[in-house]
Symmetry: C2
Subunit: 323 residues, 2 copies
């Protein structure tokens, strides 16, 4: 038998990313196709199957060498792989892995997971969490998402809500309502949107000079982070607040699943190690039960937009592999 | 082959409880022996092995019919079964499962876990969580402990700190320091000790009459719960505060591992369904992402002091069984 491969498919609202990996985790090739929305997303998996078949034929790979295909979707996935609704794709009432397996001729093992959960698995395999079996990924983007991995396996949860860190209630005095209908959600404070909101509130409440003021209403989370890193005191004040709530929320999760590392991804993570250090400084004092060497290490994600294809491919390998 | 059995051992600081179960989960027989503390607890496992051998010989069971032996210890257990220190037993630097297996002659599979984690598994098998694979147990006693079960398997965590709910930081304005060195730990508010502290603070801050006043300094958590159930407004005020923080902490865990049920155990749980309803009423609004039918159900533990032997025996059966 020759080299064995696994395939990872990351289905997003705009494009479908695909990657061919060796089972050891080396990305051999990646490519993408547009996401077709017509007919309630009914052609997406057909397109995926066609693209996969063509790629393997063109490049002379044999399906016999493919251990399986994993895919992720941008919405809740039940533990048995059922997708009730996926708004971004138009899907309703679907078992995407079974469907794809059928479209590929029935002989290929297919697996499915939620995109944020799967990204956590990808970061475990070949990213910021490499070498660890217990970790969580927190993505700080427009919203806050993530995934929990325990013993090299995604914690899907009973209803697919595992790793929904964005909607943990953490800020008692938050006056605004979250998109989810709740109040005081972590996402309201620690997302890119939340950082901007916090910074604007800090600016409004103060007459002190700040480099942030030049951006006016167009202020972005990157601006706030850049100013804070450069020492701007109002930007620092805002980031301290955001990272305090984030560190607090993460500390609670540390006392629940006790991970080795916490991987920070999403656009805000481009701020770099400085951000990890700030989060860590708020998290550590809140886990006094863990010795210093036991405290989860806050690290940066490394796979960027490829986390989904890595993680989807890793789904194929199961939890027995270790990592 | 006849009936298959598994054996569960719950090693406590005062007694060692033992139970013989069918693999279907029926308790056939239970018995106990005192915990010998001399020589740094070095005779405890010898005593266990001797008692097991005698029991099986006396009752004419064959070791060939025993699928394995599980045991739990009152302290941290690393994922590989290593016990670095167990203060309550005097143990240091021990692999108790390997040790017991050796003492039994080497042919018996032995397993070990932390007592609170193992109790969660017991409640899953034959207690308040029966029929579910994803749950958490929270024990409200002198302290607050518990365990997380995901897909019928204990989440030990990377350093054995899985399910250490007592030390999640939840109460920002708590002026007192917790035993762990932290501040604002859930245990400080939701344990039996915490409930009494809260009630005494409420009594001190008010001149209103309360049935709790008759108990003076000897006030217990049971008194507070009884008075609250009977409608005493100051007792209710105290219990509302305790259950608000508890419900809040549990809501965060629901967004992390998304369990089907939350089993409440420990002395305080003798308050009954009224307590579950109160906790649920504070938890539900904080998990808006979950539909009403998806919200974890707060239920009472059912196995009492036998949870340890049930859970230890269940360790033998692994996670493949489902539940």
């Amino acid at each position: 038998m020759g080299t064995r491969y696994c395939i990872g498919i990351d289905i997003g609202g705009t494009t479908v990313k695909m990657g061919l990996f060796t089972v050891e985790g080396r990305l051999v090739e990646k490519w993408e196709i547009p996401t077709r929305h017509e007919d309630a997303g009914g052609h997406i998996l057909e397109d995926v199957a066609a693209s996969l078949k063509k790629k393997l034929a063109d490049e002379d790979y044999s399906w016999n060498d493919v251990a399986g295909v994993g895919l992720d979707v941008p919405g809740p996935v039940q533990p048995d792989g059922y997708v009730s609704v996926c708004v971004n794709l138009g899907w309703m009432d679907l078992y995407p892995a079974q469907e794809l397996s059928k479209l590929l001729g029935g002989g290929i093992n297919c697996y499915v997971g939620n995109d944020a959960n799967v990204a956590a698995l990808g970061e475990m395999w070949q990213g910021g969490g490499k070498g660890h079996k217990n970790l969580m990924l927190v993505t700080l983007g427009t919203g806050v998402g993530g995934g929990v991995v325990v013993d090299s396996k995604i914690v899907t949860g009973a209803h697919g809500a595992g790793g929904e860190f964005g909607h943990i209630h953490i800020r008692e005095d938050d006056p605004d309502t979250c998109n989810c209908g709740g109040r005081g959600c972590l996402e309201q404070t620690a997302s890119a949107t939340g950082i901007v909101r916090e910074a604007k509130n800090v600016l409004k409440a103060s007459d002190d000079p700040s480099a942030m003021r030049q951006f006016g209403d167009a202020l972005t989370a990157k601006d706030v982070c850049d100013c804070a890193k450069a020492g701007d005191s109002l930007a620092l004040k805002a980031m301290n607040t955001c990272c305090r709530y984030l560190g607090w929320g993460l500390s609670i999760i540390c006392m629940t699943t006790d991970p080795e590392v916490i991987v920070i991804g999403g656009g805000v993570s481009k701020t770099g190690q400085w951000l990890c250090d700030l989060i860590q400084s708020y998290m550590n004092p809140l886990t006094p039960l863990l010795a210093d060497t036991q405290k989860a290490k806050v690290v940066l994600a490394q796979l960027g937009n490829d986390a989904g294809i890595y993680g989807s491919a890793r789904l194929v390998l199961g939890s027995e592999l270790g990592n």
